[in-house]
């Protein structure tokens, strides 16, 4: 698993890990059932504190992205879509608001902002095809 971490940024490292794992899962680079490297291995490879990695894994598990088998490692959850739609929307809304605010401040037209989001969705699909996700 390839992580790019910037410890000097103001974003906590555990959040950087969470965001990147979510991105890989959304893009299909990590597929349901795929094993994730152990906390210890990620910590050693990235030279970061194991407690930080453990925190990210726990949060991802809570969010239904990962599941852990007692004594047997951590895997991408089979059905990450198990959340209620209303809950999914609740979680996404802050990001949508941020895009709306930033876009408006930059004086972009509403359709230009929507276009940007669509482009990002398309680039996820392209990545998905490249890694050959059989689930889609």
């Amino acid at each position: 698993m390839l992580l790019h971490l910037n410890p000097a940024s103001g974003v906590p490292i555990y959040l950087q890990i969470e965001n990147q794992v979510k991105h890989y899962v959304a893009a299909g680079a990590l597929k349901p059932g795929d094993a994730l490297p152990s906390v210890r291995k990620v910590a050693a490879d990235m030279r970061i504190n194991p407690n930080t990695v453990a925190r990210a894994y726990q949060n991802l598990e809570r969010d239904g992205v990962l599941r852990s088998v007692p004594g047997g490692g951590t895997y991408v959850a089979e059905n990450p879509g198990g959340l209620l739609k209303s809950e999914k929307i609740r979680r996404l809304r802050p990001y949508a608001r941020q895009i709306a605010v930033e876009g408006t401040q930059l004086r972009l037209e509403p359709h230009e902002i929507v276009n940007l989001v669509e482009q990002e969705l398309q680039s996820l699909e392209v990545m998905d095809e490249r890694v050959g996700n059989p689930n889609r």
Binding site: P7, A44, R47
Partner: protein
């Protein structure tokens, strides 16, 4: 068993007039990597020396691995590996001889660890210590500390003189072999970027006093720098506002919590919020230490860059 590996209770150390450590109370959780940060002369080394029984507190007390300092010094020294600030060992001895000399003092000494770290850090084992570069001396000190297999490691500037490859290797050792095994590590350093990577807790001291102690991730999720423009903005600090500085028409606030609520309040007062941004450890460090300086003029708080050159 005590959840804290190190706990100090209003620890004081004075040297003549100077209060090097001033009622310092820190809590280092077991299994944590604790970054002990501060400017030169902030009191880090004095604190570490008192924890190990190498200096006597003027007042206050502390426990290390549950043992009171000053009473159970031997019990503490048996369980604690220490890398000193000075990195001075017997100059005529080679690393190999220093290993042979040191190992007898430590019940859990591991010769496998010696072999492993000598290889990983690329340590010249057969040259007299006095003839080694500062970086290689630091490596030998680290080797002797790591081979003790101690529960607690107290490392005073453990990366001084190390090249980037050796620093990277050191961080891997801390992440994998120390934190990964549940050992506790207290690291003092000026290299904020290194600490930021590897520490999960930080304690920041200045003039012997504690300015901040918290989980690093929590600091980063809560501390925010708010930039606002408008007239009649509040000027004072206090509460969650750690600093308030003017910059032309803008005013900058450092908040330690509830930044969004404060920004909303400013907005209600007619201010334009231009930015609410998270901060890295270096920015937080500078903001907090700068707080201690007298604020007199409009751009009070501007710091002369030279006085922080050791942080670069």
């Amino acid at each position: 068993m005590n959840e804290l590996a190190i706990q100090t209770d209003r620890l004081v150390k004075t040297y003549c007039e100077l209060r090097a450590v001033d009622e310092l109370s820190i809590n280092v959780p077991r299994g944590s990597v604790y970054g002990f940060l501060g400017r030169n002369g902030a009191g880090k080394t004095s604190t570490m020396r008192m924890l190990l029984g190498l200096a006597r507190p003027t007042a206050g007390g502390a426990t290390v691995l549950g043992f009171p300092i000053g009473r159970d010094t031997l019990a503490i020294l048996h369980r604690t590996a220490y890398v000193t600030e000075g990195k001075i060992l017997y100059g005529r001895l080679t690393a190999r001889e220093l290993v042979r000399f040191t190992k007898g003092f430590y019940p859990n000494w591991s010769d496998e660890a010696v072999a492993k770290y000598a290889r990983r850090f690329d340590i010249p084992m057969d040259r007299p210590f006095a003839k080694l570069s500062l970086g290689n001396r630091t490596k030998v000190c680290l080797l002797l500390a790591l081979a003790q297999q101690a529960e607690l490691l107290i490392l005073d500037e453990p990366t001084s003189g190390l090249d980037p490859v050796a620093v990277d290797e050191f961080q891997r050792v801390v992440a994998e072999d120390l934190a990964g095994d549940g050992r506790t590590v207290l690291i003092s350093s000026h290299q904020l970027a290194d600490v930021e990577r590897i520490a999960d807790w930080v304690g920041l001291i200045d003039y012997g006093r504690l300015l901040l102690e918290a989980r690093l991730d929590d600091i980063k999720s809560q501390y925010r720098l708010i930039t606002a423009a408008g007239t009649g903005l509040p000027q004072s600090k206090g509460g969650d506002i750690l600093s308030a500085n003017s910059d032309g028409n803008f005013r900058k606030y450092l908040l330690r919590a509830n930044a969004d609520a404060f920004a909303a309040e400013l907005g209600n007062q007619g201010a334009t919020i231009t930015e609410v941004s998270p901060l890295g450890l270096r920015e937080i460090f500078l903001e907090l230490v700068r707080k201690e300086e007298p604020c007199t003029s409009g751009n009070a708080g501007e710091i002369p860059v030279t006085s922080f050159s050791s942080l670069e």
